[in-house]
Symmetry: C4
Subunit: 125 residues, 4 copies
């Protein structure tokens, strides 16, 4: 039975890593997460491309999401080809060789109490 | 008249049950909810499969959403085949034998003031 | 030119009107909103049906969204055929005779600081 | 290779610019943002039309999102043909001559701690 679900191309138009945090790390560190579900029976080779407001896109960032696994990737932790700068607006396109589902979440703890946002990303046709 | 609305397969890529809470329970207990609407005239037999970052998926969790009813299921309350661990990233696939609508919500009360997130889940084609 | 955008049937699976509030009313009163955009050149005759966890659905609630207007409807303010009880899980189906766009928002001010959620509702095919 | 992703018509049914703020500006100023990603190789000519509850729509507001760029547009900063009033419900339609992805975000700092919401906008067929 094919257990895969999702699409091969996704986009998140909003991106912003807050520059500071309140509360114990790593749970309460301000962060932005790209949650990926690969419900299929094949490992997913995933690439991310990061778009900016004032310069050419950076990427591809490469990662693998194993078959029947989820991966909650913090944009903060990307380093190759280069880290994503904080306090800078960006957007991202996520591409995979098998169907995946992508959800975007941010925890913002710049003020004393944390704020959270989430949305399912845009799934290309 | 067919009053059903929705799809038969849904996915939520983000999942995380906070490990602690502030404020009176159960309303202010940190929790993650899968809200299901079954607007059809037939009971929906629903199964959930939970995906993790580092081990095989767990499930199916089985539940019924009666005809013309909604059910706001807290992931915290799932016990069969096993409870979902706290402070652990997960994802979920929700399948039904009749069309349903699925929405994902979390109340995070780890800090003094609660934070809320919600999104309509991803609807498979 | 046809300026309409959207669909004729929408669903929101999550619904919950908090039972109390902090801060000045009406802006900071806990509330749940169904934002409707009618970008078409015809008035939209809209009906809402409210689904519960343990009893038959209630409705239709009827309203008009004029041509080229938006309406930010607070579920709290619905009275005919009956008010929606507070602190009770519900879901809703929104139907219109012209295409509309529906977005769900909640302001929860049960604790001292307000929490906000939003999502575009599920658009039926 | 065509790197474009998205659609040419989008809608956001919820819109509301809070009337006041807490915390250092501009980061913590209450604001509402329309994040646009243009992943294509052509500049996008974008128009916004703003819909209100009690008067005719205003627009078009015109902007360009350059090829391979994102733009995080604050509704607060729109001035031509006229600024969007604060504390007023509105909705928006976003149109582009090339495919784009649109996401809606609000930071509400009316109370001491900020609240955040986001959702991918509604993509027209």
């Amino acid at each position: 039975m094919d257990t895969s679900i999702g699409r091969r191309r996704w986009a998140i138009a909003e991106g912003y890593i807050p520059g500071h945090s309140n509360g114990p790390e790593p749970a309460m560190e301000s962060h932005e997460t790209c949650c990926i579900l690969n419900a299929s029976d094949r490992d997913a080779q995933v690439t991310l491309t990061i778009y900016f407001e004032d310069r050419e896109p950076v990427g591809p960032y490469r990662l693998t999401v194993a078959a029947r696994r989820t991966r909650h990737l913090r944009f903060n932790e990307l380093t190759d080809p280069e880290p994503i700068p904080k306090e800078t607006g960006y957007a991202s396109v996520i591409e995979s060789d098998v169907p995946i589902v992508v959800q975007h979440t941010r925890l913002d703890s710049r003020q004393a109490e944390n704020a959270l946002i989430t949305t399912i990303a845009f799934a290309a046709d």
